[in-house]
């Protein structure tokens, strides 16, 4: 069952913080790629998580790195239309 937007964002944020324990929060415009919160391999797992949270599958060929660059971008790309 997909999460609503607020809960999905909270779940996503919690998942990201688990990957980077030295962070206590994730600002909306923190570059998740440059700060190594996400890398190529974790992006696959992250997309998997997003699909579970939103109930929507995504064709990886329709996506770009910038879609995952910040929490703001992630919310806009994957959560806003729900």
């Amino acid at each position: 069952m997909p999460n609503d937007t607020g809960n999905a964002l909270e779940t996503i944020t919690r998942w990201l913080l688990q990957r980077k324990p030295e962070l206590t929060n994730i600002p909306p415009d923190l570059d998740l790629i440059e700060n190594r919160v996400l890398d190529s391999l974790s992006l696959v797992e992250f997309l998997f998580l997003l699909e579970q949270e939103t109930g929507t599958s995504h064709d990886p060929e329709s996506l770009a790195v910038d879609d995952f660059r910040t929490l703001r971008n992630i919310e806009k790309r994957f959560l806003a239309s729900r």
């Binding site: 190529s40 391999l41 696959v44 797992e45 998997f48 990886p60 060929e61 996506l63 770009a64 790195v65």
Partner: protein, 133 residues
């Protein structure tokens, strides 16, 4: 003519943790059907084999110099050649990226030790390719 190089190192334990958590569903997003077969042992998916392929695909992807693109995992296949050395097969998006970069054939070498898999990939830039740093 300059060559391009790519290298990557992957923790086998990290891959094992992913396989334990997500099993075949995640592996199917990373590996082709043949790679899944080649990476499966008696007790299921072999983390060291998957890790080696993950490192190899990352190393090959770095040859394309396309930081804005997502790694097209299942369009970069790593199979064992007749000599036993790994061979790279590009399809779909990966093939397009290689062609746009004007890359020649990709050479690949992999190794495993102390819980890590490492891969090193090279390819020559063909005539007509745009030069970059």
């Amino acid at each position: 003519m300059r060559d391009r190089i790519g290298v990557d190192i992957v923790s086998v334990a990290r891959v094992q943790a992913l396989l334990d958590l997500h099993g075949g569903e995640l592996a199917r997003r990373l590996l082709t059907k043949r790679e899944l077969r080649d990476s499966t042992g008696v007790q299921g998916l072999l983390a060291h084999s998957v890790a080696g392929r993950v490192a190899a695909k990352e190393a090959v992807f770095k040859l394309f110099h396309e930081p804005a693109a997502l790694l097209p995992w299942t369009h970069i296949a790593v199979v064992r050649g007749p000599s036993g050395a790994p061979v790279v097969r590009l399809t779909g998006r990966a093939l397009t990226l290689a062609e746009e970069s004007r890359l020649g054939p990709v050479s690949l070498s992999t190794s495993h030790d102390e819980g890590y898999a490492i891969a090193f990939a090279t390819a020559a830039l063909l005539p007509g390719s745009r030069s970059d740093g």
